[in-house]
């Protein structure tokens, strides 16, 4: 039911995800679109010593997409890129295969468990992962911090 889907935690995260938090001088940026609905997420990153030092974003999407973007930006800082890949796998498993919530610090994604019943919305949650994965593949490490 939407009553579950649009719980307060998601709405609050969505409000943060709706803000324009682009970085001034990112090491890389990437924009991805959801061809099904036209949603768009732009992610910026700064990378230092092989770890994500800062994440910026701008979204044009639904509440789930915005909330996921905000959560991902929070959780990704100071992580290695490989950690993000594991977290994305865990989110996919949670949504599509009734898996448990992701391990910390991505356990905040548990708020999306009601979206399990709405497969058409899973891509909304995953879109920021697509953007971040893409930018990390292209970004140049900014060096020692």
């Amino acid at each position: 039911m939407s009553d579950d889907l649009y719980q307060q935690a998601i709405l609050e995260a969505a409000r943060r995800g709706a803000e324009n938090r682009r970085l001034d001088r990112p090491d890389g940026s990437s924009t991805v679109d959801n061809p099904l609905c036209g949603d768009r997420v732009t992610m910026d990153v700064c990378v230092r010593d092989g770890r994500i030092a800062a994440v910026g974003f701008r979204t044009r999407g639904c509440a789930l997409c915005q909330a996921s973007t905000a959560l991902l930006a929070d959780a990704a800082v100071s992580r290695e890129p490989g950690t993000l890949a594991r977290a994305e796998d865990e989110v996919v498993a949670m949504l599509g295969h009734d898996g448990p919530p992701p391990a910390p610090p991505f356990d905040t994604y548990a708020m999306f468990m009601p979206a399990r019943r709405h497969p058409s919305r899973h891509t909304c949650v995953r879109l920021p992962f697509d953007a971040l994965r893409q930018v990390l593949a292209d970004a140049t490490d900014g060096g020692s911090s």
Binding site: Y6, C37, G38, D39, L64
Partner: protein, 399 residues
């Protein structure tokens, strides 16, 4: 209209307020029965077999062609080409007609088009060096026909525009389009996907050359549609696809092709679907047309008024009821269309949210997408009430 609604099993089975008719209409029992009867009594391939099932299937298939000709006002059933739908029909024209164009020839489309009537022409442009000209729209989402003279010129070979917009619901003033085309000896293609359910139409009388429609938006099955084209247009075109059914003779060296319409129907066609489409056309023909139009206009008016009464909603389309179909799209400030649709789904209301395969139009209106309520004859005041109640819920949640 209550009796009419009861003809649709899916509407009886569940507490559903189905307002996504612009994407797919539901199917009445009469059409379902015809499809089942065909598949259980006459299922066979067409045009080749000599056994009794093949004969019966061929007769049913060709009867369906005749029915669709009548539905579209065509005297010649040979002008009916069965396709997979509107998209298939337009792609057929974009290849078979488009391949006759020379570099520098121009095709006119509009900002209002569904991707199905834009992307095939972009692909033709890239394939053949054809120039694509784009007709703008008015503020309320109609074709800006006052600008026809600026985009239609001596090199125009085709004007391909929508009959009814799948976003704004605006009905095209076809006579003005045809007049502009005839002045430069260009052809006209109409995308009739959103108009088909509101037929029957007299398409030849409109003066156009090509008309494309999908059955699933006119109370019939998915996977079948029609390209109507004037016989001389079909006769002048080479095949789009090759295979069985569309040949006259084949040797290892060369092939000669069948006459239209078979020339454009390579492979086994969607037979039961075509039979079902004819049943849907007959079902539409039997409707009390004026009463249906009045019913839909009244419900459309309620939708538009309901939106006007609510802050944070913006109608994308004409505010009046003249020359518009029951397709009502709107933007909601601070709420994404998918979230509106999700909340409305919890009220049993089925809507469509997103770009509606019209991304250039969304860019024009500076929105990521819109929410769309689209009506069919079986909708009633209860559906509109549920929509407005659900919309209030959505607006309240996302303050």
């Amino acid at each position: 209209m209550a009796a009419l609604r009861r003809q649709f099993p899916i509407l009886e089975q569940c507490d559903l307020h189905y307002l996504d008719n612009g994407a797919t209409t539901q199917v009445p029992r009469a059409v379902l029965d015809v499809i089942v009867a065909h598949e259980t009594s006459h299922r066979a391939n067409v045009h080749r077999g000599v056994h009794r099932l093949a004969e019966a299937a061929t007769e049913a298939f060709e009867d369906a062609r005749a029915t669709m000709a009548r539905f579209l006002g065509a005297a010649d059933k040979g002008e009916i080409v069965f396709t997979g739908g509107t998209t298939g029909a337009i792609n057929l024209v974009a290849h078979a007609f488009g391949n006759r164009l020379a570099p520098g020839d121009e095709v006119v489309v509009s900002l209002l088009e569904h991707h199905s009537n834009l992307v095939p022409w972009q692909m033709l442009r890239d394939r053949r060096g054809v120039v694509l000209r784009v007709l703008p729209i008015t503020g309320e989402g109609r074709l800006d026909l006052d600008n026809l003279g600026r985009v239609v010129g001596a090199r125009t070979r085709l004007i391909a525009v929508t009959h009814v917009s799948n976003v704004t619901g605006a009905v095209t003033d076809v006579a003005r389009v045809v007049e502009a085309a005839r002045a430069v000896d260009a052809a006209v293609l109409l995308d009739g996907a959103q108009a088909a359910a509101h037929g029957p139409w007299d398409i030849p009388a409109l003066g156009v050359d090509f008309y494309a429609l999908s059955c699933h938006k006119m109370f019939g099955p998915h996977g079948v549609g029609v390209l109507w084209a004037r016989r001389e247009r079909l006769a002048a075109m080479d095949p789009f696809m090759g295979g069985g059914e569309m040949i006259r003779t084949v040797t290892l060296e060369r092939t000669t092709f069948a006459d239209p319409p078979q020339r454009f129907e390579a492979g086994t066609p969607p037979i039961a679907q075509a039979v079902g489409m004819a049943a849907a056309a007959r079902w539409i023909e039997a409707l009390p047309r004026e009463a249906c139009h009045a019913h839909l206009a009244r419900l459309t008016g309620r939708l538009i008024e309901g939106l006007a009464e609510r802050a944070r909603t913006r109608l994308i389309g004409p505010a009046g009821l003249q020359a518009r179909m029951p397709v009502v799209a709107f933007a909601t400030a601070g709420i994404h269309p998918h979230d509106v649709c999700q909340v409305l789904d919890s009220h049993g209301v089925a809507l469509r949210g997103g770009h509606h395969c019209a991304q250039p139009l969304m860019d024009h209106f500076d929105v990521a997408g819109t929410t769309r309520a689209s009506l069919a004859v079986y909708n009633d005041d209860g559906d509109v009430d549920a929509f407005l109640t659900g919309l209030d819920d959505a607006l309240g949640r996302f303050r």
